[in-house]
């Protein structure tokens, strides 16, 4: 190709010129410095340094160890919370299938959009650091727990061998399963297996709330599982220690009453409780009775109600008993002004319907049976019991077909189990949300020989006492069925559908039971747990009663309109909630206001409780009263973000924080934020002192909160002392207050 001459000249010139530059010998070090210096100076006028500065600033905000949240398609899944017995409906916001937040569902018939703080962190539990992903053997060395991986079959063999030993000998030793959440399908499976094997015993604690309804059971002679409360209808609720605002029953129901009624003065809460608790703070009125005198206060109310003719017919002998509890006398015992007793009784009668609740302090346990009787008795006096009243009967939820017409172990209360009798204990450890002191269980075990297996997915709480753990799937990892909460108005049923896949080596408790059955030659249903749940759902569908709430569209469908079992199951799978019809045709009769206890015994018991033991007071001048919030006082894990309420704010007191009136503090020369020692008959506990002038002088409230290992896990697992370790646990399974001594360390 020929180029025009002028062009080729230019090119050749350029080449020469370029060569000249390259060949130039005068290009020395000074020139390089000049070039670099000039270049740098010139750079300032280009965008390069500024871009670089921006990049540096971006770099300083993106350190590699700061996690980057994964992105993906966002959708909603519906299910049921299984953290406690309330069974709240939840909506999970999922990113690429992974739940990133959980929410209550607005207008949900059960929890009405509400979820407790623990529920909001439910999706964290699968990643909890204390999670166990395979069976382990625990060795307790001086309260420090070490774990080694164990083989599930070995554990089953040990159990089967022990069962065989018990069966062959004439031993009274018991094989027991402890279930804090009776009524689930797995509960039936436990009962089935335990009925099959010799000396099998199905044990419950009542910590799901039913332990506070014992008194109700006493006066009516009815099973508490067939009654619920009509909270939504109540204008006044008198709560005898029921922690309505700390997560009682289905929390959303109480909150719903607050939400709807507070500004219209439609809802009034009177809290009868020695401590200025959370509920007492929210309540319209706080009645700070002397600890242990709640029942006397109830009798005082009854006295006024009867005397002022607010009650139509009352048994004469009950009248006689109540007559002794004049407002003045009650005032002397409870420390409440006479007028307040009278006013409270009047407002109950006039600002009705009024519901009287007797509750269980989540950490402090239930009232004793004798204390409960007069409290529940008030409901009878006010005519509160019966269909469409305050305490309503409800249908039981049918069991699955496999568990109908077959022998099931009877339900035994833990307190009724003979001491030192349990040889094999299987702890289900689905948490009820309320505390159970280990002493209560420990005293039932055969000393040194007992074999304890926990099915907990986590190495926390009570599980640390076990010899072996066969971890179960956790919250939202497998199908679980949700029987009604103890307070539910009608029977309900729902299924918590899984959102996660469980790790390989975890075992569904039903499968574990089946393996034991196989080894011991017992008869057990063959279906998987999901099959058994589905079977039960089928039974409910067959009843053709009630409605199903569908959270995906908020629609309520009559069960009768759901034609197929499959459709019903599908609805439950989508977070649907079956709600039974109210029971309208059963009349409830009150058998005796004294329950099975009898007038004289009740009176003497109550007098015992309310009479100060002066001899004991010399040695133990203060009263130790545990307290805590539901869901954190039990022994399961909690979301690490619960630290926002415990550690990162002063809002809730963490474990072993002692609330003491400043006067009491100065009496015992305690100092704020310093450790102090509490001494009881049961032992010693070091607590941290917090002065609080809303506390009754002479009382020490010690918090039972989540331990660090339950929040974020710990490197070294230890069994730690808490307030329950030094509380006196009586034969009836209560430990509400303990005489104690406090001193500086």
């Amino acid at each position: 190709m020929d180029l025009p001459s002028d062009v080729s000249d230019v090119i050749s010139n350029r080449i020469e010129y370029g060569e000249a530059i390259i060949m130039s010998k005068t290009f020395n070090r000074r020139d390089i410095i000049k070039l670099v210096g000039g270049g740098l100076a010139g750079m300032v006028f280009t965008p390069i340094p500024w871009k670089l500065l921006d990049d540096i600033s971006i770099w300083t905000q993106n350190w590699s160890w700061i996690p980057v949240p994964p992105k993906g398609e966002i959708n909603s899944k519906y299910s049921i919370c299984t953290i406690c017995t309330a069974g709240c409906g939840i909506r999970a916001r999922c990113v690429a299938g992974q739940p990133v937040s959980l929410w209550g569902i607005k207008d949900h018939p059960v929890n009405d959009g509400a979820l407790c703080p623990l529920g909001f962190g439910g999706h964290h539990l699968a990643y909890h650091p204390a999670r166990l992903r395979h069976p382990v053997k625990l060795v307790n060395d001086n309260n420090t727990i070490t774990t080694t991986e164990a083989d599930r079959d070995d554990i089953i063999s040990i159990i089967a061998d022990t069962i065989a030993n018990i069966g062959s000998g004439r031993s009274n030793e018991i094989v027991a399963a402890l279930d804090n959440r009776p009524g689930r399908t797995v509960s039936f499976a436990y009962r089935k297996l335990l009925a099959e094997i010799p000396n099998g015993m199905y044990v419950t604690t009542g910590s799901n709330g039913t332990d506070s309804m014992e008194g109700f059971s006493e006066i009516t002679g009815e099973n508490v599982n067939t009654f619920g409360f009509n909270i939504e209808k109540a204008k006044t609720i008198v709560s005898f220690g029921a922690p309505l605002m700390e997560g009682w029953g289905i929390p959303g129901r109480v909150y719903g009453a607050m939400k709807n009624g507070i500004h219209d003065k439609q809802f009034k809460l009177i809290q009868v409780e020695p401590r200025f608790s959370h509920s007492a703070s929210v309540a319209d009125q706080w009645i700070p009775v002397t600890p242990g005198t709640e029942a006397i206060f109830a009798l005082g109310i009854a006295h006024v109600l009867i005397k002022q003719n607010f009650v139509e017919e009352v048994d004469e002998s009950y009248k006689n008993l109540v007559a002794e509890y004049t407002p003045q006398r009650v005032s002397d015992i409870t420390g409440i002004r006479r007028e307040l007793i009278v006013d409270t009784a009047r407002s109950l009668a006039t600002n009705g319907p009024a519901l009287i609740l007797c509750g269980r302090e989540p950490a402090g346990g239930p009232f004793s049976r004798e204390e409960q009787i007069p409290i529940w008795g008030l409901n009878s006096l006010l005519g509160n019991i019966g269909p469409d009243k305050m305490i309503v009967p409800r249908n039981p939820v049918p069991a699955g077909k496999s568990f109908q017409d077959t022998e099931l172990a009877t339900v035994t209360k833990l307190s009724d189990v003979p001491d030192k009798s349990i040889r094999v204990l299987i702890i289900d450890e689905s948490e009820s949300g309320n505390a159970i002191p280990w002493q209560l269980i420990e005293r039932k075990l055969v000393p040194d020989k007992a074999f304890v297996v926990s099915l907990s997915p986590y190495l926390v709480g009570m599980t640390k006492r076990a010899h072996y753990v066969v971890p179960a799937p956790t919250h939202l990892e497998s199908y679980q069925d949700i029987p009604p909460s103890f307070d539910a108005r009608t029977a309900t049923y729902a299924v918590s559908a899984p959102m996660y896949t469980p790790p390989d080596k975890v075992t569904e408790p039903v499968e574990f039971l089946k393996l034991i059955a196989e080894k011991t030659g017992s008869d057990m249903p063959t279906g998987s747990y999901t099959d058994l749940i589905r079977e039960r759902a089928g039974e409910i569908h067959k009843k053709n009663r009630g409605w199903v709430y569908n959270p995906t569209n908020g629609r309520i469908t009559e069960t009768a309109d759901i034609l197929s079992e499959r459709q019903f199951w599908g609805l439950l799978n989508d977070g649907g909630y079956w709600i039974d019809e109210p029971v309208n045709d059963t009349q409830v009769t009150v058998k005796s206001l004294f329950g099975s206890v009898g007038k004289e015994k009740l009176k003497s018991k109550l007098d015992d409780i309310s009479r100060p033991n002066l001899a004991l007071q010399v040695k133990y001048p203060v009263m130790l009263v545990p307290f805590g919030w539901r869901g954190v006082v039990d022994s399961g894990p909690v979301t690490p973000l619960i630290s926002k309420l415990y550690q990162e704010s002063e809002f809730r007191q963490g474990t072993n924080r002692a609330l003491i009136h400043p006067d009491t503090g100065s009496l015992y020369r305690l100092r704020k934020d310093r450790p102090a020692k509490i001494i009881t008959e049961a032992g010693e506990l070091t607590v941290r002192v917090e002065f609080n002038d809303s506390i009754r002088p002479g009382v020490v409230h010690v918090a039972l909160g989540p331990d660090q290992d339950r929040i974020t896990g710990v490197k070294e697992v230890k069994i730690k002392e808490n307030v329950l370790s030094v509380s006196a646990v009586n034969g009836h399974g209560t430990w509400r207050s303990t005489p104690a001594r406090i001193q500086t360390v």
């Binding site: 500065l53 540096i56 600033s57 300083t60």
Partner: protein, 410 residues
């Protein structure tokens, strides 16, 4: 060799002795550096500061040493701009003290912030409304000016000045000192003021909020006044201290007296304005937003006594001592006055930072207390050790006090 580095005609302690004397300071410095490492590596959780007590020992320390370091610019201003030649005898020492105070303060600040790597953002995209941006700009520039002022002193080291070009550079730079002193004074006025303004503008904190005078809150001017009042006193105290430690006479007494007089007059003016400001604030500014004397001085241990101590015992009294010629002529009175003045300003900075944060503003918040961790104390001491070391080396090898040779002859 060591002797060859020292100023001709001065005698300094033996090298071995000098090093022995410095060893404890180096140990303190080392511990401080370790604490610094901990803070940089693991974060500010190694301090006892918290979300409410967001400022602690370090910020207090910064405010205090920056106020006391004001002697540098103020002496420079008096010497180079107002031609008060008597201050020539302390200017070098004043510059070094200023440099130490400011560089130390900046070192403490760098540890104090959460992301020191981003500290330059302030210069890059500043918020003109922020007093802290102003402080950052002024501090950065003024530290540069101080460094430029320090350079000639370093170049006057006996060995360095044997290099003729260094001497020439020093000589020429020295000619520009009035400009640098002027700029330094301007910057100093602004950042001293801004440090006060930092707290005076906080309308969310009625304890420190003050009315505005000419765009700036009154604390802006009070901080300038108090700094220039305390600065000369601090120069006097340090010079006296160095003189005591070295066993040398360093400046003539009339310099001390001049410093004292200036301090005294300014302190009196400061006390007057501070009193007016306090009264106006307690009776007008603060009640207007519902905060009374009890809200500010009702929490033990910060009673009204702290205000009286600051204004009267550590303000009015030293001012009167320093203003009175009879007292001034007696060295111990002069030093007492200077010490009280410096203590007063230190207390003022303490009240401004710590008491502000201690007092609750939110009606349901608590009165809080704060005590520093060992890391905070170590870094605080580290800065002091750094100052002692830098000053000791400077005193040993650089001509700080031109009068020294003359005054130490018999």
């Amino acid at each position: 060799m060591d002797k060859q580095l020292q100023v001709r005609g001065t005698t300094r302690m033996e090298f071995r002795k000098f090093i022995t004397y410095l060893i404890p300071w180096f140990i303190v410095l080392g511990i401080g550096l370790y604490a610094m490492y901990l803070v940089f590596r693991y974060g500010l959780n190694h301090t006892n500061m918290d979300n409410r007590f967001a400022f602690g020992l370090w910020i207090y320390f910064d405010l205090a040493i920056i106020a006391l370091g004001a002697g540098a610019f103020f002496t420079g201003l008096l010497l180079y701009v107002f031609k008060r030649e008597e201050f020539k005898s302390v200017i070098n020492s004043a510059v070094i003290i200023g440099f130490i105070c400011y560089s130390g303060a900046i070192a403490a600040l760098v540890v104090d912030v959460g992301q020191p790597l981003r500290a330059w953002f302030t210069l890059y995209r500043p918020n003109a409304h922020s007093m802290l941006a102003e402080v950052t700009f002024c501090l950065t520039l003024y530290l540069a000016v101080l460094a430029v002022e320090y350079v000639p002193i370093v170049l006057k080291n006996r060995k360095l000045k044997q290099i003729p070009s260094f001497l020439v550079f020093e000589f020429k730079l020295h000619k520009f000192m009035p400009i640098l002193a002027g700029i330094g004074a301007l910057l100093s006025f602004f950042h001293q003021g801004s440090l006060g303004g930092m707290f005076g503008v906080l309308n969310g904190q009625p304890f420190s909020f003050r009315e505005t005078v000419l765009v700036f809150p009154s604390t802006f001017f009070l901080f300038i006044l108090s700094a220039i009042a305390a600065g000369p006193s601090f120069i006097m105290l340090t010079t006296w201290l160095v003189s005591k430690i070295s066993g040398k006479k360093l400046v003539t007494k009339n310099v001390f007296m001049s410093l004292g007089k200036i301090s005294g007059i300014l302190l009196l003016v400061y006390v007057l304005f501070k009193s007016i400001d306090s009264l106006y604030w307690l009776n007008k500014t603060s009640p207007a937003v519902g905060f009374t004397v009890a809200d500010h001085y009702g929490y033990a241990p910060f009673g009204i006594w702290i205000l009286l101590l600051e204004v009267i015992v550590l303000g009015l009294i030293p001012a009167l001592i320093l203003i009175n010629k009879k007292f001034r002529e007696k060295m111990h009175w002069l030093l007492t006055g200077a010490f009280l003045a410096c203590a007063g300003i230190a207390l003022n900075r303490f009240v401004t930072t710590i008491q502000t944060l201690s007092l609750p503003t939110l009606p349901f918040a608590d009165f809080l207390t704060y005590s520093p961790t060992w890391e905070e104390v170590a870094i605080f001491l580290m800065v002091i050790a750094y100052g002692v070391i830098v000053y000791s080396f400077s005193f040993r090898y650089l001509p700080l006090f031109p009068q020294e040779r003359e005054l130490n002859s018999k």
